[in-house]
C-alpha cells in the first residue's frame, strides 16, 4: 500500500482489512459491487471478495438496513451502505426504533453487531437533500455508537473498531473530505471508539471539532499561531461514546471553548457538549461557550449561498478572535 492514501481509499481499505480477517463481514448497498459505489468507497471489494461478500441491492433503504439487522442478530457482521446520509431518513425506523433498542428490550438476549456507513455533509453543491450532517439525528437515540473520522488514518482505525464492535455503529464518511490525503496507517491499526484526539496542542483556547470541521479548526489555529495564540484542537472522532474527559481536561488548561460543527445550530451535538461544559466545567470557564455551527436553514444549492450557511475557516477565526477578546 502507498504511504499516502486518500480518505476515500481509506474507506475501502479499512473495510477490506476487516473482510480479510473475518469471513463473517459482508457488505451490502446500492451500486457498491462492481461499480465500487457512487463515492468509490467500496472500490476493489467486489473484485477481491466476490458476490457472496459484496451485495448490490435495489433502492430499498429499509430492506438494506433491516436485513443488515437480521443478519447481525444471527452471526453475520454486515456493513451496510446508505449512499447519502440524508437517506437515513428513509430507514430511520431501523436506526431509531429497532437496532438501538434490541439488546436492551430483550434483556440482553440479542446483540446487533453491524455498521451502517454513509456519506455525510455538505460543501459540494448537492443541495438540501444530499448535503446534510445528520449525526445529530442519531445522537438523540441511545443505543447507537456514532463515528465520524476526519482523516484517512482514523478512517481505517475507526473502521476496524466499528466492524469489530459488538454494538451497532453509524459510520459517517464526510463527502467533503473524500479527496483529502493522509498517512496510510500500518496493518492492524485500530482506533478505539470513544477516544478523542488532540489534533493540535495549544494553551489559550480549546476548539472541539468533528470530521469536516477538524481541518477548518486546524487552519484557523495555524492562522492564529502567527499572532502567537495557542489553539488546542480536539477531534472528537465519535459522538457516542463521547470523550468529555479530553474536552474538560483541555478546558482546564485554556478556560475558553469554541465548538465547531457542520450541522445546524438547533439540535446540534455542540449543544450537548456545551451543556456538559456549562455544568461540569462551569468553574473552568473564563468566557462564554461559543459555537460555530451551520445556520438554521436547509442547505442551499449555490456554493456562494452554501458558504453563507456552513462553517468556514474565516468564521472560525472570527469566532476565536471574539472569544479571546472576551
Amino acid at each position: 500500500m502507498a504511504d499516502v492514501i486518500t480518505y476515500r481509499e481509506a474507506v475501502s481499505e479499512g473495510i477490506a482489512r476487516e473482510m480479510r480477517r473475518d469471513r463473517s463481514v459482508v457488505c451490502l448497498g446500492e451500486d457498491i459491487g462492481a461499480a465500487g459505489g457512487v463515492f468509490k468507497t467500496t472500490a476493489g471489494l467486489f473484485a477481491e471478495f466476490g458476490g457472496e461478500r459484496v451485495w448490490d441491492t435495489p433502492i430499498s433503504e429499509q430492506a438494506i438496513v433491516g436485513m443488515a439487522m437480521g443478519a447481525a442478530m444471527t452471526g453475520i457482521r454486515p456493513v451496510a451502505e446508505i449512499m447519502f446520509s440524508d437517506f437515513l431518513a428513509c430507514c430511520w425506523d431501523y436506526l431509531a426504533n429497532e437496532i438501538p433498542k434490541m439488546r436492551y428490550m430483550t434483556g440482553g438476549q440479542v446483540t446487533v453487531p453491524l455498521v451502517v456507513r454513509t456519506a455525510n455533509g455538505g460543501g459540494l453543491g448537492f443541495g438540501a437533500q444530499h448535503s446534510q450532517s445528520v449525526e445529530n439525528w442519531a445522537l438523540a437515540v441511545p443505543g447507537l455508537k456514532i463515528v465520524a473520522p476526519s482523516n484517512p488514518s482514523d478512517v481505517i482505525g475507526l473502521m476496524a473498531a466499528a466492524i469489530r464492535s459488538d454494538d451497532p455503529v453509524l459510520f459517517f464518511e464526510h463527502k467533503g473530505l473524500m479527496a483529502s490525503k493522509g498517512e496510510a496507517p500500518p496493518a492492524e491499526h485500530l482506533v478505539p471508539l470513544g477516544q478523542a484526539a488532540v489534533a493540535r496542542e495549544g494553551g489559550d483556547v480549546t476548539v472541539v471539532a468533528l470530521a469536516s470541521t477538524v481541518p477548518l479548526a486546524l487552519a484557523a489555529a495555524d492562522r492564529l499561531a502567527a499572532d502567537g495564540i495557542g489553539v488546542e484542537v480536539i477531534d472528537l472522532r465519535c459522538l457516542v461514546p463521547l470523550d468529555m474527559a479530553t474536552v474538560l481536561a483541555s478546558l482546564g488548561k485554556t478556560s475558553r471553548l469554541l465548538i465547531v460543527e457542520e450541522n445546524p445550530y438547533q439540535g446540534g451535538w455542540g449543544g450537548t457538549v456545551a451543556a456538559i461544559v456549562a455544568d461540569e466545567g462551569f468553574e473552568l470557564l473564563d468566557a462564554p461557550v461559543r459555537r460555530v455551527a451551520s445556520e438554521c436553514v436547509p442547505l442551499p444549492f449555490a456554493d456562494a449561498l452554501e458558504d453563507e450557511v456552513i462553517p468556514t475557516t474565516a468564521k472560525v477565526i472570527a469566532a476565536l478572535r471574539t472569544l479571546l477578546a472576551y
Binding site: 435495489p58 437480521g70 444471527t74 426504533n97 429497532e98 439488546r103 428490550m105 470523550d243
Partner: protein, 333 residues
C-alpha cells in the same frame, strides 16, 4: 382456501399441538384477567383465536429456524418454547420475565429458542426476517426464517421492500400473514383494493402464495412444512395468508364494537381448539384423552399465574444494564 395437503400428522402429535394451543389460550385468558385485576400494566394484544397459526407453523419448523412476530406475539413466543410463567412474568413486570421486564407484552423474545423477537412497529420485522434468512444462506446452515404479520402490515413500505429483496435473492424466508380481517378498529377491506392483502400481492414479486384456513392447525402445519422445504431447497420465499380471527378486541382498551353483529359468534364456531378436537375425533383419539390434555393445559397455566404472581419485581439496576454488549449503558466519559 386450500384443504388438506395430504401430509399426515400422527394422532399423538396432534394431541400435543392441541395441548399447546390450550396452554396459549389459557395464558391469554389469564393475561386478560390479570389486566382487569390491575396486575398487568401498559398494553397487551391478545392472540386468542390465532393459536393454530403459531402452533401449526412451529410444528413444521426446525428448532433452529428463526421466528419473528408482532406485538401480538404471545402465541408465537409460547409455540417456540417460552413458558407461560416467563411470558406472564414479563407482562406483570417481574424480574423473572422473559425480557427481564424491559420489553413487555409487545416484545416477547426467546433467543435461545430462535424466537428472535416481537416487533411493535408494524411491518418492521419483515426485512429483519429476510436478513436472518440471508444470514442462514451465507452461513450455509439450512435454516429458514419466518415472519408472522397482520393483514394491516401489508400496506406499509417495509412489506414491499422485504418481499422484493427476498424474492430477488431467493432467500429461505416465509411470510405468513395472520389475516384477522381488522387492523386496530378498521377493517382491512376498507384500505386495500385486493381481496387478499398478502397473497394477492405475491405475484408482484413473482412469489408463490397460498390462502389457507388459519384456524386449522393441521392445514397450517402442512402448508408451512412444504413452504419450508421449498425454502431450504433454495427455491425462495413463499407468502402464506392464514385466515383467522381474534376473539378479544385489538388491545385491552378495545371493546371491539366496530364488528358486525354475529361475526365473532360465527368465527367462534370455527375456534381452532374445536377444529383440532374434531380432527382428533376423526383420527379416533378418545374424547377423554383430549379432555385430559385440556386439564393439563389449565394446570400449567394456573401454575404459571401463581409463579408469576410470586416472582419479585425487577432489580432497579436493570434499568442501566444491557444497552451495550459490555452489559452497561455508558455513553460518555
Amino acid at each position: 382456501m386450500t384443504a388438506d395437503l395430504g401430509v399426515s400428522i400422527a394422532p399423538d402429535v396432534l394431541l400435543g399441538l392441541f395441548e399447546q394451543m390450550a396452554v396459549i389460550r389459557g395464558t391469554e385468558k389469564a393475561a386478560h384477567d390479570l389486566f382487569l385485576a390491575g396486575l398487568v400494566k401498559g398494553t397487551t394484544h391478545l392472540a386468542a383465536g390465532h393459536e393454530a397459526v403459531a402452533v401449526g407453523a412451529s410444528a413444521a419448523l426446525r428448532p433452529d429456524d428463526y421466528v419473528f412476530a408482532t406485538y401480538r406475539g404471545h402465541h408465537h413466543a409460547m409455540a417456540r418454547g417460552a413458558t407461560p410463567a416467563e411470558c406472564l412474568g414479563e407482562l406483570m413486570s417481574k424480574g423473572t420475565g422473559l425480557n427481564k421486564a424491559k420489553g413487555g407484552s409487545m416484545h416477547l423474545t426467546k433467543a435461545s429458542a430462535s424466537m428472535l423477537g416481537s416487533y411493535a412497529i408494524v411491518g418492521a420485522h419483515l426485512p429483519i426476517a429476510a436478513g436472518a434468512a440471508w444470514s442462514a444462506r451465507l452461513r450455509g446452515t439450512g435454516q429458514v426464517a419466518v415472519a408472522f404479520f397482520g393483514d394491516g402490515a401489508t400496506n406499509i413500505g417495509a412489506f414491499h421492500e422485504a418481499l422484493n429483496l427476498a424474492a430477488v435473492w431467493s432467500l429461505p424466508v416465509l411470510f405468513i400473514c395472520e389475516n384477522n380481517l381488522y387492523m386496530e378498529y378498521t377493517p382491512i377491506g376498507s384500505v386495500t383494493a385486493v381481496e387478499h392483502p398478502a397473497a394477492d400481492r405475491a405475484p408482484a414479486y413473482r412469489l408463490p402464495s397460498q390462502v389457507i384456513d388459519g384456524n386449522d392447525v393441521v392445514v397450517v402445519a402442512q402448508t408451512v412444512g412444504l413452504a419450508a422445504e421449498r425454502a431450504r431447497a433454495g427455491e425462495g420465499p413463499t407468502v402464506i395468508e392464514a385466515m383467522t380471527y381474534r376473539h378479544f378486541g385489538h388491545s385491552r382498551t378495545d371493546p371491539a364494537t366496530y364488528r358486525p353483529d354475529g361475526e365473532l359468534d360465527e368465527w367462534l364456531t370455527r375456534d381452532p381448539l374445536d377444529v383440532a378436537r374434531a380432527r382428533l375425533a376423526g383420527l379416533g383419539v378418545p374424547a377423554e384423552d383430549v379432555d385430559a390434555a385440556a386439564r393439563r393445559a389449565a394446570a400449567t397455566v394456573a401454575d404459571a399465574v401463581e409463579a408469576a404472581k410470586a416472582a419479585p419485581g425487577p432489580d432497579p439496576a436493570e434499568a442501566f444494564r444491557d444497552v451495550w454488549q459490555d452489559g452497561g449503558a455508558a455513553w460518555r466519559t
